[in-house]
């Protein structure tokens, strides 16, 4: 068995003339929480569907839990599609059991676990209700429980946070962490950077059907130098020479990227040059800034628009 839950090489997918995925390489280590970031229409769902074997790639190869026929390992995989779907006339616990049964869990066990999971999620009262009677959030929880009921080794969640309120988003984050603690590989796609930032060890950024970045969140951040915000009493002086050329001035504040030389020389010149430091902050850039730097302004704007629609 390979130590990667997912390995993909040169995946390409065309829908008629449109190239949805344009040569993607991806490796997801086992036992990690892996985020796939990208704006709507970047190819996230298409890529996940290829990885899961719902559709075949036009070019390239992929292995899922070491198998190049993803459906053959379906029993060890849980998948929450972007567009949620349940049989409306099934009862909540039965819907969970059915999803488990699809992936090899005996129906009886599935029903027991279904009730238990609903109970643990505070939805015990809804267990015997038909899915059509449930609220959208509850139905989504039922579907999520159906995704994990057979205790998979790999969980794939497509936009799991969309449509959830803040409270349920928090619950979902906890669940993802709990699964990861058990050694389960969790891979999820999102267009909300905050979730990826909080949860993921590794991310892949997808834009325009390609992966411009793939690796640790910290690596993505390190691509950007820390940002400095400086407030000074003095308006001018020899200390100005220590500031980079492209520094931006807003009133008493200076904004600039920390020079390659580091913090100490900067501080020394400021103090020696009597700049009169009122306040100074040096911040590591957020994933958002990294995303802007990596995926480009256009992709970032698309993400922001989407985020405005679906609050994080």
């Amino acid at each position: 068995m390979s130590e990667h839950a997912i390995e993909a090489r040169g995946l390409v997918k065309y829908f008629d003339e449109f190239c949805a995925v344009d040569g993607i390489d991806l490796t997801v280590p086992k036992g990690s929480i892996f985020g796939i970031l990208g704006p709507n229409g970047a190819g996230k769902t298409t890529m996940l569907r290829m990885l899961l074997g719902i559709i075949d790639p036009d070019e390239g190869s992929r292995t899922l839990l070491g198998s190049d026929r993803p459906l053959s390992v379906a029993k060890q995989v849980g998948y929450l599609p972007e567009e949620r779907g349940l049989y409306q006339s099934m009862k909540a616990y039965d819907a969970i059991a059915f999803m488990g049964a699809l992936r090899g869990l005996p129906l009886k066990t599935g029903r027991e676990r279904g009730r238990q999971l609903l109970e643990e999620s505070g939805l015990g009262a809804a267990a015997d209700k038909e899915v059509r009677m449930l609220s959208k959030g509850m139905a989504q929880t039922v579907q999520l429980l159906g995704t994990i009921v057979h205790e998979p080794k790999l969980i794939v969640l497509d936009e799991p946070f969309s449509g959830l309120d803040a409270l349920n988003q928090g619950k979902l984050e906890n669940m993802i962490r709990a699964q990861a603690d058990r050694g389960v590989t969790v891979i999820f796609s999102t267009h909300v950077i905050a979730h990826a930032e909080r949860l993921c060890e590794e991310i892949a950024i997808i834009a325009g059907g390609k992966v411009p970045f793939h690796g640790k969140v910290s690596t993505a951040r390190d691509r950007l130098r820390p940002q400095v915000t400086l407030e000074t009493r003095a308006q001018d002086g020899p200390w100005r020479k220590a500031l980079p050329q492209e520094s931006e001035r807003r009133g008493d504040f200076w904004h600039f990227t920390l020079p390659e030389t580091g913090v100490e020389p900067l501080l020394k010149s400021l103090i020696d040059g009597q700049a009169g430091i009122e306040s100074l902050s040096i911040e590591r850039p957020g994933l958002h800034d990294a995303f802007v730097a990596i995926a480009g302004e256009a992709a970032a704007r698309k993400m922001d628009e989407a985020e405005a629609e679906v609050p994080a």
């Binding site: 065309y14 829908f15 569907r49 899961l52 074997g53 719902i54 559709i55 075949d56 790639p57 036009d58 070019e59 190049d68 026929r69 993803p70 459906l71 053959s72 379906a74 995989v77 998948y79 599609p81 567009e83 949620r84 779907g85 349940l86 049989y87 409306q88 006339s89 099934m90 059915f98 999803m99 049964a101 699809l102 992936r103 090899g104 129906l107």
Partner: protein, 408 residues
């Protein structure tokens, strides 16, 4: 393979439960019983009406002695050929103006108690009888009246002859003719059942597609398993329906008497014939069902499915037309074609079972039909994967190669 069957079973179990435990299923079971009930009621009513109509009454306006001889002749003939074959006679004493009397009698509408309603009148004498009435009635009974007069004229005292009978086994000609009847009846029954039931498969994937459940199914099990599971769930449902209808039908026959004609024994014998009917129904259902499922899976909305159901029914009619046309042409090219063509094969082979004794062609036919059903499911699933799930590797991989490679 085991995994495929397991997955198909999970799908089938869900579908089956969803059908059986719905309120609509009750009406599904009840549906075919409506025409049955109406048929029984109409049958009873028809008998009643037949009784009233089929008692033609002929006025006998003859001299008294001839009239008496005629009724005596009728009584004698009735013992030999039965009541129904001869009209009833009513002696009416002749009046002076016989043509006027006959005209009045036949014009009467039969009001009042004493007023009888005659269909015709016999006047004149034995030597010169005159039979008056509407063209239809006169032509119908002319011969019988003549026979009655002849019998009356040659009246003898010898008692009616008793004809001894010696019944031998069916002649070969009669047997073949009768078995053709069984063949046709069983074909019609098979067709009615498949037409009523197989069309339902058409809309089977629409719920999954509109509800996006297909994504969950397709991520967990092969599309082939979804198709097979759905087909067998519908087949199981069909069996429940048929079992209920047969039970009720048998009960109805028990209650309403054995008045129904029984079918001649098929050439292959009843037990094997019934087993074959069962198997061929399954095959007809699976063959047509897999085709309809494949077609229906292409439809994106319920409306499209509804639109598709007409051409699909027409296609079924064509297949049935072929099989029923071929049923009388045993061994001719058209019949052999009907037996080989997969969709008409179950119908044609069932007709063969009624008419021919050999069993081995049925084993071939069943294997052949199963092969086709599998092929159609695979083609349907493959097209579904490509067109609906937007899967597949473009034109690089051949169509047939894709068909026989393991879906990943």
């Amino acid at each position: 393979m085991r995994e495929l069957i397991r997955s198909a079973f999970v799908i089938a179990r869900r579908d089956f439960a969803a059908i059986i435990f719905s309120k609509a299923f009750f009406f599904f079971l009840l549906g075919p019983l409506f025409p049955l009930a109406i048929g029984i009621a109409a049958g009873g009513l028809g008998q009643q009406m037949a009784k009233e109509i089929d008692q033609p009454l002929v006025a006998v306006v003859l001299p008294a002695d001839e009239a008496a001889a005629l009724t005596a002749a009728r009584d004698r003939l009735v013992t030999q050929i039965g009541q129904r074959r001869l009209p009833e006679l009513r002696i009416v004493p002749p009046q002076t103006d016989i043509p006027a009397q006959v005209a009045t009698m036949l014009a009467r509408k039969g009001e009042g108690d004493s007023a009888e309603k005659y269909i015709a009148a016999l006047s004149g004498s034995f030597d010169a009888p005159l039979f008056t009435g509407a063209a239809e009635d006169v032509q119908r009974w002319q011969g019988e009246i003549g026979l009655l007069i002849d019998t009356a004229r040659s009246a003898s005292d010898t008692p009616p002859v008793t004809v001894a009978t010696d019944i031998i086994a069916d002649s070969e000609g009669a047997k073949a003719k009768n078995q053709l009847l069984t063949a046709q009846a069983s074909q019609v029954a098979l067709f009615l059942l498949t037409m009523l039931l197989a069309g339902m498969v058409l809309s089977n994937l629409v719920e999954e597609k509109t509800n996006k459940i297909i994504e969950i199914l397709a991520a967990a099990v092969p599309i082939d398993a979804i198709f097979i599971g759905k087909l067998f769930a519908m087949l199981a449902m069909a069996f429940i329906g048929i079992a209920v209808w047969i039970t009720v039908g048998a009960f109805a026959i028990q209650t309403f008497g054995p008045g129904l004609p029984s079918l001649p024994v098929p050439a292959i014998g009843w037990p094997i014939f019934i087993l074959l009917a069962f198997l061929y129904f399954s095959m007809a259902y699976l063959l047509l069902g897999s085709l309809f499922l494949g077609i229906g899976a292409m439809a994106t909305t319920v409306r499209e499915v509804q639109t598709l159901s007409m051409p699909v029914t027409m296609a079924q009619l064509l297949v049935f037309g072929l099989a029923s046309y071929a049923v009388t042409k045993l061994g001719e090219p058209i019949e052999v074609f009907a037996a080989i063509f997969p969709f008409s094969s179950p119908f044609a082979m069932l007709a063969r079972a009624a008419q021919l004794e050999s069993i081995w062609p049925h084993l071939f036919a069943l294997a052949w039909q199963i092969g086709w059903a599998i092929l159609i499911v695979r083609i349907g699933a493959s097209i579904f994967r490509r067109n609906v799930m937007k899967s597949g590797g473009g034109a690089k991989q051949g169509f047939f190669k894709r068909l026989f490679t393991q879906p990943s």
